[in-house]
Protein backbone atom coordinates (compact mmCIF):
# COMPACT_ATOMS: atom_id res chain seq x y z
CA UNK A 1 0.00 0.00 0.00
CA UNK A 2 1.02 3.59 -0.39
CA UNK A 3 3.48 4.70 2.30
CA UNK A 4 1.49 7.80 3.22
CA UNK A 5 -1.74 5.86 3.55
CA UNK A 6 -0.14 3.27 5.82
CA UNK A 7 1.40 6.01 7.95
CA UNK A 8 -1.94 7.77 8.25
CA UNK A 9 -3.67 4.56 9.34
CA UNK A 10 -0.96 3.86 11.92
CA UNK A 11 -1.24 7.42 13.18
CA UNK A 12 -4.99 7.17 13.70
CA UNK A 13 -4.72 3.83 15.47
CA UNK A 14 -1.93 5.00 17.78
CA UNK A 15 -3.72 8.28 18.53
CA UNK A 16 -7.01 6.57 19.34
CA UNK A 17 -5.38 3.99 21.60
CA UNK A 18 -3.27 6.65 23.29
CA UNK A 19 -6.24 8.86 24.11
CA UNK A 20 -8.19 5.90 25.49
CA UNK A 21 -5.21 4.87 27.60
CA UNK A 22 -4.96 8.40 29.00
CA UNK A 23 -8.55 8.31 30.15
CA UNK A 24 -8.32 4.84 31.66
CA UNK A 25 -4.96 5.47 33.26
CA UNK A 26 -6.76 7.90 35.48
CA UNK A 27 -9.27 5.20 36.42
CA UNK A 28 -6.46 2.73 37.16
CA UNK A 29 -4.69 5.30 39.29
CA UNK A 30 -7.78 6.04 41.35
CA UNK A 31 -8.53 2.35 41.86
CA UNK A 32 -4.98 1.39 42.79
CA UNK A 33 -4.59 4.35 45.16
CA UNK A 34 -7.91 3.50 46.71
CA UNK A 35 -7.00 -0.13 47.30
CA UNK A 36 -3.64 0.89 48.79
CA UNK A 37 -5.62 3.06 51.18
CA UNK A 38 -8.15 0.21 51.82
CA UNK A 39 -11.14 1.91 50.27
CA UNK A 40 -12.83 1.10 46.97
CA UNK A 41 -12.41 4.07 44.66
CA UNK A 42 -14.91 4.78 41.90
CA UNK A 43 -17.56 2.09 42.03
CA UNK A 44 -20.89 3.45 40.95
CA UNK A 45 -20.61 4.81 37.45
CA UNK A 46 -20.74 1.66 35.35
CA UNK A 47 -19.41 -1.71 36.52
CA UNK A 48 -16.64 -1.07 39.06
CA UNK A 49 -16.48 2.54 37.99
CA UNK A 50 -15.33 1.81 34.45
CA UNK A 51 -17.40 4.64 33.02
CA UNK A 52 -15.94 7.13 35.51
CA UNK A 53 -13.54 8.67 32.94
CA UNK A 54 -16.54 9.28 30.66
CA UNK A 55 -18.36 11.02 33.50
CA UNK A 56 -15.26 13.11 34.18
CA UNK A 57 -15.03 14.13 30.54
CA UNK A 58 -18.67 15.24 30.58
CA UNK A 59 -18.11 17.17 33.77
CA UNK A 60 -15.05 18.93 32.43
CA UNK A 61 -16.74 19.74 29.13
CA UNK A 62 -19.84 21.20 30.68
CA UNK A 63 -18.15 23.21 33.42
CA UNK A 64 -18.23 26.96 33.07
CA UNK A 65 -15.25 28.05 30.99
CA UNK A 66 -13.90 31.07 32.80
CA UNK A 67 -11.57 33.66 31.40
CA UNK A 68 -10.45 35.78 34.37
CA UNK A 69 -10.22 39.43 33.37
CA UNK A 70 -6.75 40.06 34.79
CA UNK A 71 -4.79 37.42 32.93
CA UNK A 72 -2.56 37.92 29.92
CA UNK A 73 -5.05 36.48 27.47
CA UNK A 74 -2.86 35.18 24.67
CA UNK A 75 -0.46 33.25 26.90
CA UNK A 76 -3.23 32.08 29.21
CA UNK A 77 -4.96 30.43 26.26
CA UNK A 78 -1.70 29.25 24.67
CA UNK A 79 -0.27 27.34 27.64
CA UNK A 80 -2.65 24.35 27.90
CA UNK A 81 -2.59 24.04 24.12
CA UNK A 82 1.21 23.96 24.13
CA UNK A 83 1.36 21.53 27.05
CA UNK A 84 -1.05 19.06 25.42
CA UNK A 85 0.52 19.25 21.93
CA UNK A 86 4.03 18.66 23.20
CA UNK A 87 2.95 15.85 25.49
CA UNK A 88 1.14 14.01 22.70
CA UNK A 89 3.79 14.40 20.02
CA UNK A 90 6.45 12.11 21.50
CA UNK A 91 4.35 9.00 20.94
CA UNK A 92 5.19 9.27 17.24
CA UNK A 93 8.66 7.73 17.61
CA UNK A 94 7.89 4.96 20.10
CA UNK A 95 7.98 1.48 18.55
CA UNK A 96 5.49 -1.03 19.89
CA UNK A 97 6.70 -4.11 18.10
CA UNK A 98 8.82 -5.49 15.30
CA UNK A 99 8.16 -5.43 11.59
CA UNK A 100 4.89 -7.14 10.75
CA UNK A 101 3.30 -8.38 7.57
CA UNK A 102 -0.40 -7.52 7.31
CA UNK A 103 -2.18 -8.63 4.12
CA UNK A 104 1.01 -8.23 2.10
CA UNK A 105 2.05 -4.85 3.52
CA UNK A 106 5.24 -4.90 5.52
CA UNK A 107 5.40 -2.14 8.09
CA UNK A 108 6.96 -1.42 11.44
CA UNK A 109 4.75 -1.03 14.49
CA UNK A 110 5.87 2.56 14.91
CA UNK A 111 4.48 5.75 13.43
CA UNK A 112 7.88 6.94 12.24
CA UNK A 113 11.48 6.09 12.98
CA UNK A 114 13.88 9.00 13.23
CA UNK A 115 17.61 8.37 13.15
CA UNK A 116 17.86 10.64 16.17
CA UNK A 117 14.71 9.35 17.87
CA UNK A 118 15.97 9.55 21.45
CA UNK A 119 17.17 13.14 20.88
CA UNK A 120 13.69 14.00 19.59
CA UNK A 121 12.09 12.81 22.82
CA UNK A 122 14.64 14.80 24.84
CA UNK A 123 14.01 17.89 22.72
CA UNK A 124 10.25 17.68 23.24
CA UNK A 125 10.62 17.29 26.99
CA UNK A 126 13.02 20.25 27.04
CA UNK A 127 10.53 22.51 25.24
CA UNK A 128 7.57 21.36 27.34
CA UNK A 129 8.87 23.55 30.17
CA UNK A 130 7.25 26.53 28.41
CA UNK A 131 3.73 25.25 28.92
CA UNK A 132 4.20 25.18 32.69
CA UNK A 133 6.19 28.42 33.01
CA UNK A 134 3.79 30.43 30.85
CA UNK A 135 0.76 29.03 32.66
CA UNK A 136 2.19 30.18 35.96
CA UNK A 137 3.22 33.60 34.70
CA UNK A 138 0.16 34.49 32.65
CA UNK A 139 -2.25 33.82 35.52
CA UNK A 140 -1.13 37.06 37.17
CA UNK A 141 -1.27 35.52 40.62
CA UNK A 142 1.63 35.05 43.03
CA UNK A 143 0.85 31.43 43.89
CA UNK A 144 0.65 30.46 40.26
CA UNK A 145 3.87 32.27 39.43
CA UNK A 146 5.70 30.60 42.29
CA UNK A 147 4.27 27.20 41.39
CA UNK A 148 5.10 27.67 37.72
CA UNK A 149 8.67 28.80 38.35
CA UNK A 150 9.30 26.04 40.87
CA UNK A 151 7.92 23.42 38.54
CA UNK A 152 10.00 24.66 35.61
CA UNK A 153 13.14 24.83 37.73
CA UNK A 154 12.47 21.27 38.92
CA UNK A 155 11.98 20.02 35.36
CA UNK A 156 15.16 21.60 34.02
CA UNK A 157 17.21 20.50 37.03
CA UNK A 158 16.16 16.88 36.66
CA UNK A 159 16.73 16.92 32.90
CA UNK A 160 20.45 16.61 33.57
CA UNK A 161 20.45 13.28 35.46
CA UNK A 162 17.76 12.06 33.05
CA UNK A 163 19.94 12.78 30.03
CA UNK A 164 23.02 11.22 31.60
CA UNK A 165 21.00 8.14 32.54
CA UNK A 166 19.79 7.94 28.93
CA UNK A 167 23.32 8.20 27.53
CA UNK A 168 24.63 5.20 29.51
CA UNK A 169 22.70 2.47 27.64
CA UNK A 170 23.36 4.37 24.41
CA UNK A 171 27.04 3.68 25.00
CA UNK A 172 26.22 -0.01 24.95
CA UNK A 173 24.03 0.15 21.84
CA UNK A 174 25.84 2.84 19.79
CA UNK A 175 22.60 3.88 18.12
CA UNK A 176 20.18 6.76 18.54
CA UNK A 177 17.08 5.47 16.77
CA UNK A 178 14.58 3.60 18.89
CA UNK A 179 14.22 0.76 16.47
CA UNK A 180 17.96 0.10 16.49
CA UNK A 181 18.06 0.36 20.29
CA UNK A 182 15.34 -2.27 20.56
CA UNK A 183 17.11 -4.51 18.08
CA UNK A 184 20.28 -4.23 20.13
CA UNK A 185 18.49 -5.87 23.05
CA UNK A 186 17.39 -8.99 21.23
CA UNK A 187 18.94 -12.35 22.02
CA UNK A 188 19.75 -14.21 25.19
CA UNK A 189 22.85 -14.91 27.29
CA UNK A 190 23.34 -18.57 28.27
CA UNK A 191 20.07 -19.28 26.48
CA UNK A 192 17.75 -17.85 29.10
CA UNK A 193 18.94 -14.44 30.42
CA UNK A 194 17.54 -11.75 28.11
CA UNK A 195 19.94 -9.21 26.70
CA UNK A 196 18.00 -6.26 28.01
CA UNK A 197 20.08 -3.20 28.83
CA UNK A 198 19.74 -3.79 32.55
CA UNK A 199 21.44 -7.15 32.09
CA UNK A 200 23.79 -6.33 29.23
CA UNK A 201 27.30 -7.44 29.70
CA UNK A 202 30.04 -4.85 29.64
CA UNK A 203 28.13 -3.05 32.40
CA UNK A 204 24.55 -3.95 33.43
CA UNK A 205 22.58 -0.74 33.54
CA UNK A 206 20.75 -1.31 36.81
CA UNK A 207 21.90 1.96 38.38
CA UNK A 208 21.13 3.78 35.16
CA UNK A 209 17.60 2.40 35.28
CA UNK A 210 17.09 3.50 38.88
CA UNK A 211 18.46 6.97 38.18
CA UNK A 212 16.23 7.23 35.12
CA UNK A 213 13.17 6.22 37.15
CA UNK A 214 13.87 8.76 39.89
CA UNK A 215 14.48 11.51 37.35
CA UNK A 216 11.31 10.43 35.53
CA UNK A 217 9.28 10.91 38.72
CA UNK A 218 10.61 14.43 38.92
CA UNK A 219 10.16 15.22 35.24
CA UNK A 220 6.49 14.31 35.29
CA UNK A 221 5.80 16.12 38.57
CA UNK A 222 4.73 12.94 40.40
CA UNK A 223 5.04 12.14 44.05
CA UNK A 224 7.46 12.36 45.81
CA UNK A 225 8.39 15.38 43.67
CA UNK A 226 5.00 16.95 43.19
CA UNK A 227 5.30 20.00 45.42
CA UNK A 228 4.66 22.42 42.55
CA UNK A 229 1.16 21.11 42.14
CA UNK A 230 0.45 20.11 45.72
CA UNK A 231 -3.01 21.19 46.64
CA UNK A 232 -2.39 21.92 50.25
CA UNK A 233 0.80 23.91 49.79
CA UNK A 234 0.30 26.21 46.85
CA UNK A 235 -3.44 26.24 46.23
CA UNK A 236 -3.01 24.31 43.02
CA UNK A 237 0.28 25.62 41.70
CA UNK A 238 0.44 26.76 38.14
CA UNK A 239 -2.99 25.53 37.14
CA UNK A 240 -4.91 27.41 39.84
CA UNK A 241 -6.66 29.78 37.49
CA UNK A 242 -7.64 27.21 34.91
CA UNK A 243 -11.03 25.56 34.71
CA UNK A 244 -12.87 22.99 32.60
CA UNK A 245 -11.20 21.99 29.36
CA UNK A 246 -8.05 24.05 29.90
CA UNK A 247 -7.48 22.26 33.19
CA UNK A 248 -8.27 19.00 31.47
CA UNK A 249 -5.49 19.91 29.02
CA UNK A 250 -2.89 20.06 31.78
CA UNK A 251 -4.24 16.90 33.31
CA UNK A 252 -3.98 15.05 29.99
CA UNK A 253 -0.49 16.45 29.47
CA UNK A 254 0.67 15.05 32.82
CA UNK A 255 -0.64 11.55 32.12
CA UNK A 256 0.66 11.62 28.55
CA UNK A 257 4.11 12.57 29.83
CA UNK A 258 3.94 9.68 32.28
CA UNK A 259 3.07 7.19 29.55
CA UNK A 260 5.76 8.53 27.21
CA UNK A 261 8.49 8.39 29.79
CA UNK A 262 7.62 4.84 30.85
CA UNK A 263 7.65 3.82 27.17
CA UNK A 264 11.12 5.35 26.80
CA UNK A 265 12.29 3.56 29.97
CA UNK A 266 11.00 0.26 28.59
CA UNK A 267 12.71 0.75 25.26
CA UNK A 268 16.03 1.86 26.69
CA UNK A 269 16.37 -0.41 29.68
CA UNK A 270 13.86 -3.22 29.66
CA UNK A 271 14.28 -4.46 26.12
CA UNK A 272 11.21 -3.04 24.40
CA UNK A 273 9.03 -5.79 23.03
CA UNK A 274 11.50 -8.63 23.55
CA UNK A 275 10.13 -11.35 25.82
CA UNK A 276 11.62 -12.52 29.08
CA UNK A 277 12.58 -16.00 27.88
CA UNK A 278 13.15 -17.42 24.43
CA UNK A 279 10.66 -17.47 21.66
CA UNK A 280 8.56 -20.62 21.41
CA UNK A 281 7.69 -20.72 25.13
CA UNK A 282 7.14 -17.01 25.63
CA UNK A 283 4.43 -16.89 22.96
CA UNK A 284 2.13 -18.77 25.33
CA UNK A 285 2.60 -16.43 28.29
CA UNK A 286 -0.31 -14.08 27.45
CA UNK A 287 -2.65 -17.01 26.86
CA UNK A 288 -1.59 -18.62 30.14
CA UNK A 289 -2.02 -15.34 32.04
CA UNK A 290 -5.52 -14.71 30.76
CA UNK A 291 -6.62 -18.30 31.41
CA UNK A 292 -5.31 -17.90 34.97
CA UNK A 293 -7.26 -14.64 35.33
CA UNK A 294 -10.41 -16.37 34.02
CA UNK A 295 -9.88 -19.19 36.53
CA UNK A 296 -9.68 -16.69 39.41
CA UNK A 297 -12.82 -14.97 38.17
CA UNK A 298 -14.77 -18.21 37.98
CA UNK A 299 -13.52 -19.29 41.40
CA UNK A 300 -14.73 -16.10 42.99
CA UNK A 301 -18.00 -16.35 41.08
CA UNK A 302 -18.64 -19.66 42.79
CA UNK A 303 -18.32 -18.05 46.25
CA UNK A 304 -19.63 -14.55 45.63
CA UNK A 305 -18.90 -11.80 48.16
CA UNK A 306 -21.83 -9.65 46.97
CA UNK A 307 -25.01 -10.80 45.27
CA UNK A 308 -24.14 -9.14 41.98
CA UNK A 309 -20.84 -10.98 41.78
CA UNK A 310 -22.66 -14.19 40.94
CA UNK A 311 -23.48 -12.62 37.57
CA UNK A 312 -20.66 -10.15 36.90
CA UNK A 313 -17.63 -12.33 37.62
CA UNK A 314 -18.50 -15.05 35.06
CA UNK A 315 -18.81 -12.27 32.47
CA UNK A 316 -15.31 -11.08 33.36
CA UNK A 317 -14.07 -14.68 33.18
CA UNK A 318 -15.65 -15.16 29.77
CA UNK A 319 -14.02 -11.96 28.46
CA UNK A 320 -10.63 -13.15 29.77
CA UNK A 321 -11.10 -16.51 28.02
CA UNK A 322 -11.93 -14.77 24.74
CA UNK A 323 -8.78 -12.67 24.99
CA UNK A 324 -6.74 -15.79 25.77
CA UNK A 325 -8.20 -17.41 22.64
CA UNK A 326 -7.22 -14.37 20.55
CA UNK A 327 -3.65 -14.65 21.79
CA UNK A 328 -3.57 -18.34 20.87
CA UNK A 329 -4.34 -17.82 17.16
CA UNK A 330 -1.02 -18.56 15.41
CA UNK A 331 -1.61 -16.07 12.57
CA UNK A 332 -2.06 -13.15 14.96
CA UNK A 333 0.72 -14.16 17.36
CA UNK A 334 3.69 -12.41 15.68
CA UNK A 335 1.73 -9.15 15.79
CA UNK A 336 0.02 -9.30 19.16
CA UNK A 337 2.53 -11.04 21.42
CA UNK A 338 5.32 -8.40 21.10
CA UNK A 339 2.72 -5.68 21.75
CA UNK A 340 1.62 -7.64 24.82
CA UNK A 341 5.18 -7.81 26.20
CA UNK A 342 5.74 -4.09 25.55
CA UNK A 343 2.46 -3.11 27.18
CA UNK A 344 3.09 -5.47 30.09
CA UNK A 345 6.42 -3.79 30.85
CA UNK A 346 4.96 -0.29 30.44
CA UNK A 347 2.02 -1.30 32.63
CA UNK A 348 4.39 -2.57 35.29
CA UNK A 349 6.29 0.73 35.33
CA UNK A 350 3.05 2.73 35.46
CA UNK A 351 1.95 0.57 38.39
CA UNK A 352 5.23 1.45 40.12
CA UNK A 353 4.49 5.14 39.50
CA UNK A 354 1.05 4.82 41.06
CA UNK A 355 2.33 2.61 43.88
CA UNK A 356 4.96 5.19 44.83
CA UNK A 357 2.27 7.86 44.80
CA UNK A 358 0.31 5.93 47.37
CA UNK A 359 3.29 5.22 49.56
CA UNK A 360 5.76 8.08 49.84
CA UNK A 361 5.40 11.58 51.33
CA UNK A 362 6.52 14.48 49.26
CA UNK A 363 9.81 16.33 49.32
CA UNK A 364 10.11 19.92 50.36
CA UNK A 365 11.31 22.13 47.55
CA UNK A 366 14.83 22.77 48.80
CA UNK A 367 15.27 19.08 49.61
CA UNK A 368 14.16 18.32 46.06
CA UNK A 369 16.69 20.65 44.43
CA UNK A 370 19.48 19.62 46.73
CA UNK A 371 18.77 15.98 45.94
CA UNK A 372 19.02 16.68 42.21
CA UNK A 373 22.23 18.64 42.24
CA UNK A 374 24.22 17.07 45.05
CA UNK A 375 23.20 13.43 44.82
CA UNK A 376 21.48 12.38 41.63
CA UNK A 377 23.64 14.28 39.16
CA UNK A 378 26.97 12.96 40.54
CA UNK A 379 25.48 9.45 40.62
CA UNK A 380 24.42 9.71 36.98
CA UNK A 381 27.86 11.05 36.07
CA UNK A 382 29.59 8.21 37.94
CA UNK A 383 27.34 5.66 36.21
CA UNK A 384 28.22 7.14 32.84
CA UNK A 385 31.95 7.11 33.59
CA UNK A 386 31.86 3.50 34.79
CA UNK A 387 29.88 2.41 31.72
CA UNK A 388 32.33 4.17 29.44
CA UNK A 389 35.27 2.58 31.26
CA UNK A 390 33.84 -0.92 31.00
CA UNK A 391 32.86 -0.49 27.35
CA UNK A 392 36.30 0.81 26.48
CA UNK A 393 38.15 -1.97 28.28
CA UNK A 394 36.00 -4.99 27.24
Amino acid sequence: MNFYLVSLIKLFIVFAIFMQTLAYLQWIERKVLAHIQTRTGPLRVGPHGLLQPLADVFKLLTKEDLLPPYVNRFFYLLSPFLAVCLALISIAVIPFGPEINVFGTRTYLQVTDLHVGILFVLAISAVSVYGVALAGWSSNNKYSLLGGLRSSAQIISYELPLTLAIVSPLLLMNQLSFRAISDGQAGYYLGFIPRWAIFQMPFPQIFGFLIFLIAAFAETNRVPFDLPEAENELVAGFHTEYSSMKFAGFFMAEYANMITITCVATLLFLGGWHPLFPAPYSNWVPTALFIFAAAIAFFHAAQPARKIDRYSFPVVGAIALIIAAIFAVPVLQPIIVPIFWFLAKVGLLLFVFIWVRGTLPRFRYDQLMKFAWTFLFPCALANLLLTALFVAVF
Partner: protein, 166 residues
Protein backbone atom coordinates in the same frame (compact mmCIF):
# COMPACT_ATOMS: atom_id res chain seq x y z
CA UNK B 1 7.03 18.39 -0.81
CA UNK B 2 10.21 19.95 0.49
CA UNK B 3 9.43 23.19 -1.37
CA UNK B 4 6.16 23.42 0.51
CA UNK B 5 7.86 22.72 3.83
CA UNK B 6 10.61 25.24 3.10
CA UNK B 7 8.15 27.98 2.15
CA UNK B 8 5.95 27.40 5.18
CA UNK B 9 8.77 27.36 7.69
CA UNK B 10 10.68 30.21 6.08
CA UNK B 11 7.56 32.38 6.32
CA UNK B 12 7.00 31.29 9.92
CA UNK B 13 10.59 32.16 10.84
CA UNK B 14 10.35 35.56 9.14
CA UNK B 15 7.09 36.41 10.87
CA UNK B 16 8.52 35.35 14.24
CA UNK B 17 11.71 37.35 13.58
CA UNK B 18 9.64 40.45 12.77
CA UNK B 19 7.76 39.80 15.98
CA UNK B 20 10.98 39.67 18.00
CA UNK B 21 11.93 43.10 16.74
CA UNK B 22 8.52 44.77 16.80
CA UNK B 23 6.80 43.53 19.99
CA UNK B 24 6.92 45.76 23.02
CA UNK B 25 6.70 43.17 25.79
CA UNK B 26 9.91 41.12 26.18
CA UNK B 27 8.07 37.88 26.76
CA UNK B 28 6.32 38.05 23.39
CA UNK B 29 9.72 38.64 21.82
CA UNK B 30 11.17 35.69 23.71
CA UNK B 31 8.42 33.31 22.59
CA UNK B 32 8.67 34.52 19.00
CA UNK B 33 12.39 33.82 19.17
CA UNK B 34 11.55 30.26 20.27
CA UNK B 35 9.37 30.08 17.14
CA UNK B 36 12.31 31.22 15.00
CA UNK B 37 14.54 28.55 16.50
CA UNK B 38 11.95 25.84 15.97
CA UNK B 39 11.40 26.72 12.31
CA UNK B 40 15.15 26.95 11.76
CA UNK B 41 15.43 23.44 13.21
CA UNK B 42 13.00 22.22 10.53
CA UNK B 43 15.10 23.98 7.87
CA UNK B 44 18.20 22.22 9.19
CA UNK B 45 16.37 18.90 8.87
CA UNK B 46 15.60 19.75 5.23
CA UNK B 47 19.31 20.39 4.68
CA UNK B 48 20.20 17.00 6.11
CA UNK B 49 21.57 18.20 9.46
CA UNK B 50 19.50 15.96 11.73
CA UNK B 51 21.79 15.93 14.79
CA UNK B 52 22.18 19.69 14.63
CA UNK B 53 18.43 20.24 14.30
CA UNK B 54 17.74 18.30 17.51
CA UNK B 55 20.66 20.04 19.25
CA UNK B 56 19.20 23.39 18.19
CA UNK B 57 15.88 22.56 19.83
CA UNK B 58 17.44 21.12 22.99
CA UNK B 59 20.14 23.76 23.53
CA UNK B 60 18.58 26.92 22.13
CA UNK B 61 14.89 26.25 22.48
CA UNK B 62 15.01 24.25 25.66
CA UNK B 63 17.83 25.84 27.64
CA UNK B 64 18.91 29.29 26.43
CA UNK B 65 15.41 30.60 25.83
CA UNK B 66 14.14 29.08 29.07
CA UNK B 67 16.87 31.12 30.76
CA UNK B 68 15.62 34.24 28.98
CA UNK B 69 12.02 33.55 29.93
CA UNK B 70 12.96 32.93 33.56
CA UNK B 71 14.93 36.18 33.72
CA UNK B 72 12.03 38.14 32.23
CA UNK B 73 9.61 36.59 34.70
CA UNK B 74 11.86 37.14 37.71
CA UNK B 75 12.75 40.71 36.86
CA UNK B 76 9.12 41.41 36.03
CA UNK B 77 10.20 43.21 32.88
CA UNK B 78 7.32 45.26 31.61
CA UNK B 79 6.57 46.66 28.21
CA UNK B 80 9.19 48.93 26.78
CA UNK B 81 8.62 52.61 27.25
CA UNK B 82 9.25 54.67 24.17
CA UNK B 83 11.90 57.33 24.51
CA UNK B 84 13.16 59.99 22.17
CA UNK B 85 15.19 58.62 19.34
CA UNK B 86 17.57 60.59 17.19
CA UNK B 87 16.05 62.05 14.02
CA UNK B 88 18.81 60.49 11.93
CA UNK B 89 17.89 57.00 13.03
CA UNK B 90 14.21 57.61 12.35
CA UNK B 91 14.75 58.89 8.82
CA UNK B 92 17.67 56.83 7.60
CA UNK B 93 17.13 53.60 9.56
CA UNK B 94 14.72 51.73 7.32
CA UNK B 95 16.27 52.72 3.95
CA UNK B 96 19.75 51.72 5.17
CA UNK B 97 18.39 48.36 6.32
CA UNK B 98 16.77 47.76 2.94
CA UNK B 99 20.03 48.74 1.24
CA UNK B 100 21.87 46.17 3.35
CA UNK B 101 19.43 43.41 2.41
CA UNK B 102 19.60 44.44 -1.26
CA UNK B 103 23.41 44.25 -1.16
CA UNK B 104 23.28 40.77 0.37
CA UNK B 105 20.72 39.65 -2.22
CA UNK B 106 22.88 40.97 -5.06
CA UNK B 107 25.94 39.14 -3.73
CA UNK B 108 23.99 35.90 -3.40
CA UNK B 109 22.58 36.24 -6.91
CA UNK B 110 26.11 36.66 -8.20
CA UNK B 111 27.09 33.30 -6.74
CA UNK B 112 23.75 31.67 -7.59
CA UNK B 113 24.55 29.63 -10.73
CA UNK B 114 27.14 27.63 -8.80
CA UNK B 115 24.78 26.67 -5.97
CA UNK B 116 22.98 23.32 -6.07
CA UNK B 117 19.31 22.70 -5.43
CA UNK B 118 18.37 21.30 -2.04
CA UNK B 119 16.67 17.92 -2.15
CA UNK B 120 15.60 16.36 1.11
CA UNK B 121 17.54 13.15 1.59
CA UNK B 122 20.36 13.89 -0.79
CA UNK B 123 22.86 14.70 1.97
CA UNK B 124 22.94 12.03 4.64
CA UNK B 125 26.21 12.89 6.31
CA UNK B 126 24.77 14.81 9.24
CA UNK B 127 24.38 11.85 11.56
CA UNK B 128 25.57 11.84 15.16
CA UNK B 129 28.25 9.28 14.32
CA UNK B 130 29.86 11.46 11.66
CA UNK B 131 29.78 14.57 13.80
CA UNK B 132 31.15 12.69 16.78
CA UNK B 133 33.96 11.22 14.75
CA UNK B 134 34.99 14.62 13.40
CA UNK B 135 34.57 16.31 16.76
CA UNK B 136 36.89 13.93 18.55
CA UNK B 137 39.60 13.62 15.92
CA UNK B 138 40.05 16.73 13.83
CA UNK B 139 38.41 19.30 16.11
CA UNK B 140 39.56 17.90 19.44
CA UNK B 141 41.39 21.04 20.56
CA UNK B 142 38.44 23.40 19.95
CA UNK B 143 36.22 20.88 21.75
CA UNK B 144 38.39 20.93 24.86
CA UNK B 145 38.69 24.72 24.73
CA UNK B 146 34.90 25.00 24.47
CA UNK B 147 34.44 22.87 27.56
CA UNK B 148 36.75 25.17 29.51
CA UNK B 149 34.78 28.13 28.10
CA UNK B 150 31.55 26.66 29.43
CA UNK B 151 33.17 26.12 32.82
CA UNK B 152 34.28 29.76 32.90
CA UNK B 153 30.78 30.89 31.91
CA UNK B 154 29.20 28.82 34.69
CA UNK B 155 31.61 30.19 37.27
CA UNK B 156 31.04 33.74 36.03
CA UNK B 157 27.27 33.42 36.11
CA UNK B 158 27.29 31.92 39.61
CA UNK B 159 29.58 34.65 40.96
CA UNK B 160 27.63 37.48 39.34
CA UNK B 161 24.21 36.32 40.36
CA UNK B 162 24.73 35.29 43.96
CA UNK B 163 23.47 37.20 46.96
CA UNK B 164 25.76 39.73 48.62
CA UNK B 165 27.31 38.47 51.84
CA UNK B 166 26.72 41.36 54.19
Amino acid sequence: MDTVLFVIFAIVSLICAFNVVLQTHPISSALSLVGVMGSLAVLYLLLGAEFLAMTQVIVYGGAVMVLFVFTIMLLNAGSEKSSSKSWFAQIAGLPLLLAFVALMGFLIKGVMPALPAVRFGSFIGGTAEQIGRLLFTEYLLPFEVISILILIAILGAVVLARKEID
